[in-house]
Amino acid sequence: MANKYDNLCIAVTGLNANDNPGPGMAVIRSLKEYFGDSLRIVGLSYESLEPGIYLRDYVNKTYQVPYPTEGTAALLERLTYINQRENLDLIIPNFDSELFNFIKTAPQLQQMGIATYLPTQQQLALRDKVHLKDFGTKHGFYVPADHKLYTADDLQKAAADFGFPMVIKGKFYEAYVVYTMDQALKAFHQLNATWGVPVIAQQYIKGNEINIAALGNGKGDNISLVAMRKLYITDKGKAWAGVTIKDDKLTQLAGNFALATNWKGGYEMEIMSTAEGHLYILEVNPRFPAWIYLTAAAGQNQPAALTKMALGEVVEPYTDYQAGKLFVRYSWDHIADIADFQQISAMGEL
């Protein structure tokens, strides 16, 4: 039976389904499951070996887009070209580092008939790693103490205050738990080279790592919320296996965050639950996490709900999900032809 969502065309970034995966493929899987085979997925990639480019059962066509550092004009020009060929209904960006540009260009995209469902620049800044401690203090959240590091010398003060271990984090991505000053210096230089300053030194909090995937409606409420306890963590700190859990304290925490920020769009809270029962917010990521398909598996398909909201539908908040749903990530050698690699590398589309 035909419905208003037949033949939707949605563009998605974050096709890097590697050992530090972007959320794109999980978002696409969720969307395909809900909207069915008539859904057309346009992948937006940055590099030629992002696995999603070659997963043609999930991604109908991929276009390379300019790196965020090239600015909004370059992005808009490229998206205009893509839209002329694809007639996009919606774009779901999935990288922290590209959000600034997508938020800035959202009004122009809207004029082109392309919907987005994104936080404001102000909301984006509130939960920035650099501002998270101040945000927590203002709104009564537990957030580990931190130091902003602009030079390697700043590590001395952080080490004096926090001792070891402590956590050294990049401005956008990556974090290392370090146990000695040598390790701290190495982490600082590596993260500075990759993401620039400030690098953040954060107090180490011991406990169970819990993540919350949520979808805010921009009016102070969460439409959906699913919590997951990490069961297996990679050396990059990523969940390789996890299980859905339900706890009123987690629901309340995410509810308070949505209320404090009026968050619009998907987000992920990284929580450390201590033996004393405190829930420390380690990070708030301003987009869906790579494990977002677990929300669909547990009964709350957040990417599908975001899509409907972005297209103007009023979506009632989900009230329940299944605890005890387990995900186990795996690696898979996907086979493609070198001609495909040549095509995306040379022509920027496949």
Partner: protein, 80 residues
């Protein structure tokens, strides 16, 4: 002492706490005890049932029961 109402148990002794994600594997006796506790039997009823079915002294059973309660408490599976 009551088992938390949301604790999920299976016939083979597997225990899952949906609030924390903790899971535990118990033996056959653990499975029987959990099943009895979930059906709201009292401590006295459960102990009497064990005394009727197994060759165990009352003193030994009391010590084992205290140990069982301690394990459940440490695993955060009991109502506070």
């Amino acid at each position: 002492m009551k088992l938390k109402s949301n604790i999920a148990t299976s016939d083979n002794g597997f225990i899952f706490n949906p609030s924390t994600g903790d899971s535990f594997s118990g033996n056959e006796m653990a499975a029987q005890l959990l099943s009895a506790m979930k059906s709201n039997k009292t401590e006295a009823e459960i102990k009497q049932d064990i005394l009727n079915r197994y060759d165990v002294s009352e003193n030994q059973l009391d010590r084992d029961w205290d140990n069982w309660m301690l394990q459940l408490k440490e695993a955060n599976l009991l109502e506070i």
